[in-house]
């Protein structure tokens, strides 16, 4: 894990001091809400329907037990005893008082955390693969690069008033667990002739105009990564649209220019930017990488798992993934209990997960974009003890990647942008499919719900996606099929007319029934959909 040095500490402290002063000036009426808004947003503070919401950055989703406990402390002390883990691997608190925000940021700074650039038209928290450093299929740990990008993008003087927000993801495996190509910049560390480089995909995103990022450069030498990113951003900052907020993301610029013309402009800018010497030397990368050195895992640890407890065995089969070191495993903790709010965890649950990480997972946790938590480095021999502790805390739902492992935005229950509620729909779907045997029969099925067209719930990338809209003053839910945020990235297609809250649950059941009738051996839902197309599903839904 990356540990702050004196410079990192000083920068975060300066930011806390700056924001404290800005809050003071706002409370004293010295600056208007209009002037304050971009400042609070760059510190993760939104004004929502009922209260301020604070979004805390979890850089590339990695944190240790001390940091996790601080998240519980904040929930307990300043909020209503829970937090909400987000699709950007962050956590947000829904009931924050403006006057408490400086104290919260100070508490966060004490454990090397912050809320810097978790909102606003700037470069947001860098996201990454939640299994980084543990997955067998990665060519290297992507997080040192993500940390290098974090530092480069923090308080970037040129790119803090971009046309719109800007999200970067970094992965280093062919299996894409971070929805990399649905980011403004998706970077995949790749290998060519024994040398690592960065493939740059630019101009992806969801929102009202979803786009899959085209490949802009297949191999950027790693020592040029920051210059190349700077060139990508400068072209966007200068030429991205500012006349219409809905057309301001980089995906629209690249769509309008064409990938080839955008690439030409970036290459021209890069030729200039590279001469400025903004890329740190290898020694700086090595300093960072050293802190992500793999934990000392005993490769001779026993590989066998005692499966005599059937409930435990079910959980192992669904929620535990292979680790690159024999005798070890990756534990995925589902924050999607049937009837719960996707991504929510109580202070006590957060503390418990911190305890388990400290005791069993080399003090590391990860937040996933699917709103779950990972213990990345666990001995197989400890799995049963971990499961028992999770089960006692309501955290052992064995539904990873099943239909009830739903991504959902906060929706109209919290969000001032939403048109419809997401949470009750997620709860009704989970209740309808609560039988685990039925879920397992359906297999991998990624269901994602957004309460408005901004797509925070990733509905475009769901095998089944739901979009809540407002139709003449009533909530209406559109159904999409066939999306994916993984390496088989695709955008879902709308089935047809929308449904009310109960109607959408019925429609999903008709879709899954049809899948079971149509599927061939070994096909996931999305595979069947791709093979047979929309027509049979449409017929099943609308008759």
């Amino acid at each position: 894990m990356y540990k702050y040095d004196e410079y990192d500490h000083a920068m975060v402290a300066a930011r806390v001091a700056e924001f404290s002063d800005q809050v003071r000036r706002r409370l004293a009426g010295e600056i208007t809400e209009d002037q304050f808004k971009p400042l609070r947003l760059m510190n993760g503070l939104y004004l929502q329907l009922h209260a301020y919401m604070l979004r805390v950055a979890v850089p590339y989703g990695t944190l240790d037990s001390r940091q996790m406990r601080m998240l519980a402390h904040i929930a307990r002390k300043y909020d209503r005893d829970y937090g909400h883990f987000t699709t950007r691997q962050n956590i947000q608190y829904n009931w924050i008082k403006l006057e408490d925000a400086p104290a919260i940021l100070e508490d966060l700074a004490s454990v090397e955390m912050h809320a810097i650039q978790t909102s606003g038209n700037c470069i947001r928290n860098i996201s990454s693969d939640q299994w980084a450093g543990a997955a067998a299929d990665e060519i290297t740990d992507p997080r040192p690069w993500a940390e290098l990008l974090r530092q480069w993008s923090s308080f970037h003087p040129e790119f803090s008033y971009l046309p719109r927000k800007f999200k970067i993801a970094v992965i280093a495996a062919d299996e894409d667990r971070a929805a990399m190509r649905l980011h403004d910049i998706g970077i995949q560390i790749v290998e060519k002739d024994g040398v690592h480089g960065a493939a740059f995909y630019v101009g992806g995103g969801m929102g009202r105009t979803p786009m899959i990022a085209p490949l802009i450069k297949d191999f950027v030498p790693l020592e040029d990564m920051l210059s190349y990113a700077e060139a990508c951003l400068r072209v966007y900052n200068r030429y991205g649209r500012r006349d219409n907020i809905y057309k301001a993301r980089i995906k629209i610029l690249i769509h309008e220019l064409g990938a080839d013309e955008y690439r030409r402009q970036v290459e021209e800018e890069f030729a200039h930017v590279k001469s400025l010497g903004i890329d740190p030397p290898k020694a700086e990368f090595d300093r960072i990488a050293k802190q992500f050195a793999p934990p000392a895992l005993d490769a001779s640890a026993p590989d066998a798992i005692d499966r005599s407890d059937p409930d435990f065995a079910v959980w192992v089969d669904q929620n535990v993934a292979a680790h690159k070191v024999p005798g070890h495993a990756i534990v995925n903790i589902s924050l999607k209990p049937i009837g719960g709010i996707p991504g929510d965890a109580s202070s006590a649950q957060i503390d418990l997960m911190a305890d388990l990480a400290e005791r069993y997972s080399h003090d590391e946790l990860r937040v996933t974009h699917a709103q779950n938590i990972v213990l990345p480095h666990v001995r197989k021999a400890d799995l049963y003890a971990i499961w028992q502790a999770l089960d006692a805390a309501g955290l052992a739902t064995p539904n990873l990647d099943l239909i009830s492992d739903i991504i959902a935005c906060p929706g109209l229950d919290y969000c001032s942008l939403a048109n419809a509620r997401s949470i009750p729909v997620a709860q009704k779907i989970a209740a309808r499919f609560s039988d685990l045997g039925r879920q397992k029969e359906l297999g991998e099925l990624k269901l994602k719900i957004s309460g408005c067209i901004n797509a925070c719930g990733h509905h475009h990338a769901g095998h089944i996606g739901i979009l809540g809209v407002d139709r003449k003053g009533t909530e209406n839910y559109q159904l999409l099929l066939g999306g994916s945020g993984a390496e088989d990235v695709s955008l879902g297609t709308i089935t047809g007319p929308g449904f009310d809250e109960d109607g959408i649950v019925d429609a999903i059941e008709r879709v899954t029934d049809r899948y079971l009738a149509e599927r061939s051996e070994g096909e996931r839902f999305v595979d069947t959909f791709r093979r047979v197309g929309m027509a049979p599903f449409k017929e099943a839904i609308y008759g």
Binding site: D5, P157, E158, F159, Y161, N237, R242
Partner: protein
Amino acid sequence: MVEHLQTGGEEPCVTLDAFLEQSNATAVRLEPDEDARALIPFLDRLALIEVAFPKFRDGRGYSSARILREAGYTGELRAQGDVLVDQIAYMKRCGFDSFAPEKPINPADVEAALTRWPAHYQGAADGAVPIWKLRHG
């Protein structure tokens, strides 16, 4: 330290179009949608480039400033318009050395904003040594 906190009233700037057409002017004003690189052939005879910020949210002027400094411009580079105290530190990093805010800013607040940051993570146009270089000497 604020080199120049302008209140206006000195040498008038010409528009970019006017400058490119006639030009013996030594002061030019750049709007957000105008290409700073059009001025590169003339930098050695310009004494003042004023970059307009009609709305503080429009950040194109930050790139314009850096492009001009990166091309070797050493004259006065002024941010004019909706320039607020909370933007000034970033503007300075991008190469601005004078500020003409439409609404007056308290000089003490400017001083605080410009002295707040102990260091900077990335290189920009102000000559500051980035943190990675401080780390490695």
